[in-house]
Symmetry: C2
Subunit: 435 residues, 2 copies
């Protein structure tokens, strides 16, 4: 077993200074400290995979064996690290030790060489933690290019030397190494009571484009020092991801690399070994935690100026409500109207009507709910358009945060879905991503 190493070795320049150009609202989303799960250390280094020399290799390593679970993209072009991590979990759900991640190159659609490279990433990590088949691998970045394996291998070895249990130098570096087009690192941690004791969770997510998950999503991991039996951990993760990372959309494109994993190392006294109220409390805590991370991804949506909560109510089922939310959240016309602060609610109806779920147009209501607590604004009530006060609509659309409530009027099911607007900046970023 390796020793805890709190030495902070920062690779390359610290990125903090580059966040100063962000809005105050976005700066407030950056974590500056945290209570982290016991027995985990993290690091992030610059291995020069990225042209801009920012950090691009992240490790999280546990000193104790972890139960593990993950959800993966359902894209049929599954990236090599997805295939390899699935294989790892199929053989080992009880004694995992590490998650190794690189940004800058997705190792997706890379044919046979890609698989070889992803396995090599795993074996380098396995060798360092001295446990075979104990590492999950993730990659993010440009599709269709092979990993620079010399940089990857030396980067992993360097990052391993830099592991730290601290916020600065450890976790924050890892979060920075996850970034691609992200404008800020997405790191969260917290401590929670359960079974008369306490446990902790930490998580990192990345993603600002190619975000529209289904079954699984973008790149992220969560770790906890609770012990959770592998099958319960998988069940809780699936539940949580369905209501968090699978309930966000930036641009409707689903990545080839989407992966969310969770490791539970039992470093605390909290133990979840059977279903029941303790399991449910853990699951709901994990869900709330995942929602917080997922919302950070939307807040950093490429070029986004708005954070929009679609609250679909009155659905016949959770699934149909979610399908409607997912469809509306990808409508270019809805998203450009939000950008233009235009209360063009007819586009919301047009998108809902095209979503594929059963609706009765004469029962549908659409409302803007301002996030400052002021009065709601009805746009359509049971299929009949309201005389909309355009000045009031503009007032609400000026706010960065907006809730759009769509009541289907059919049942009791509801869901929340988070999305952003479609802006000139999105087109600029994605018209010129590779260069």
């Amino acid at each position: 077993m390796f020793r805890l190493n709190n030495t902070i070795r920062i690779q390359g320049r610290r990125l903090y200074s580059t966040y100063e150009h962000l809005s105050a609202g976005k700066q407030a989303l950056i974590s500056h400290s945290g209570i982290y799960p016991k027995g985990f250390r993290a690091s992030g280094v610059a291995a020069l995979i990225k042209k801009n020399k920012n950090k691009d290799i992240a490790l999280v390593v546990s000193e104790l064996p972890c139960s593990g679970a993950a959800v993966f993209t359902t894209n049929k072009f599954q990236a090599a690290p997805v295939i390899v991590s699935k294989e790892t979990l199929a053989q080992n759900k009880e004694a995992l030790y590490a998650v190794v991640t690189n940004s800058g190159c997705a190792n997706a659609v890379t044919g046979a060489q890609g698989l070889t490279d992803a396995k090599k990433m795993r074996s380098v990590m396995d060798e360092l933690v001295q446990h075979p088949l104990s590492s999950l691998t993730m990659s993010t970045g440009v599709i269709g290019q092979n990993l620079p394996m010399d940089k990857i291998e030396s980067g992993i070895r360097e990052a391993y030397k830099c592991l730290s249990a601290e916020h600065d130098g450890g976790w924050m570096n890892a979060a920075e190494a996850y970034m691609t087009t992200d404008t800020f690192p997405k790191l969260r941690s917290g401590e929670f009571g359960l079974q008369g004791s306490k446990f902790r969770m930490a998580g990192i997510a990345k993603g600002a484009g190619m975000i529209h998950p289904n079954m699984a999503t973008l790149l992220g991991f969560m770790v906890t020092d609770a012990y959770v039996k592998p099958e319960l951990l998988q069940k809780a993760l699936t539940y949580a991801v369905d209501r968090s990372f699978n309930s966000i959309s930036i641009d409707g494109d689903m990545s080839t690399n989407d992966t969310i994993s969770v490791l539970a190392n039992g470093g605390s006294d909290v133990r979840i070994e059977t279903e029941g109220s303790d399991y449910e409390e853990f699951r709901d805590r994990l869900t709330a935690f995942a929602v917080e991370l997922a919302q950070l991804v939307v807040r950093d949506g490429e070029g986004a100026t708005k954070f929009v909560t679609l609250h679909i109510k009155g659905g016949e089922t959770f699934e149909s409500a979610k399908k409607a939310a997912s469809h509306i959240s990808t409508s270019m016309l809805v998203k450009t109207a939000l950008y233009g602060k235009d209360a063009n609610w007819g586009r919301i109806c047009a998108s809902l009507g095209h979503s594929g779920i059963d609706i009765d147009p004469t029962k549908v209501s659409v409302t803007f709910v301002p996030t400052d607590g002021s009065n709601r604004l009805n746009l359509m009530v049971k299929g009949e358009p309201e005389k909309v006060d355009e000045d009031r609509a503009s007032e609400i659309l000026e706010m960065e945060d907006l809730i759009i409530e769509v009541d289907l009027g059919l049942g009791e099911s509801e869901t929340k879905f988070w999305t952003c607007d479609l802006t000139h900046e999105y087109v600029t970023i994605n018209g010129d991503y590779r260069s």
Copy 2:
């Protein structure tokens, strides 16, 4: 029966002069003359529904009874004119006389009042042609606002007085009155041989945004002076639309108003009353004609700088090939890469993998086919990425027209789908559509 009236009364200013700012390529798409089907007259007037005072009421009227067929949007929020035109066709497929269209207001999501208004449009037209239930109605423009019925009614009466069988003053005015965010009128006509005789077709389409049909599409009509039995006309139209208007996408949003109708008045000697080679020739001619009109819509895609043909080959079925094409054509990441002239073909694979069809990633090939006849550029061959000559890729991506060939390697089915890029201008147009 009303008399043929060739008097041209032009309402408001002629729009031709405003097309001078268009690129030479787009100006070349504007029809300046045509041979039109016998017995049809058309007109377009400005009834001041549009704030900009451009033409907004279009009529096409036949002096002979027409067999009629149509395909409509499958959006569950069906606009009032869609509901009313379906009702008309359910009762009368044999003796239709007119299509009346307004732009500037879609009469969609307008509740009970909307239905009353669409029926009133029909009855005003029916009264003018002196045949009950003989008019199809279409509306396009902003959703969620009621029609200004006084302007609509006087506009229809005025347009009726202006009907003409000529290109200028008749058909061209009608095509202009179809425009919303369109930058040029979409009018086509032609004369074709069949059964040792000749028949003619003419058609008008509109649409530049909210374009991603399914089963039916945008707004357009075709007329012919062949006689075609109603059930064969519907069959031919469904076949044609599936391969034309249903094979285009601009922004992935499906309108509440999509309608394509066809009227056949038998003014020529060509008669199609049974299936067989004559029917098939007519059907294929109608399909080619519809493809031409549909391509005009994509050429005028809001803000578009590229005209892209997605050629999906090697599919197991026509349906699966089309599903893949439809999905790729709506990917914001694919479309922004095309705008940025970035050969980021990994995004094409990611989108294909998310399209929902069965694929085998190791059999998929992706190729850029330049439209100037120069050499093809392989990007991926049977799942393995090629070493791409980026200079050559840039050369191909500089061209306005591009063919992307995706070979699924699974079967013999193929389809072509037409789409455009996603640009800053698209965001500008749709961030501020209503004002």
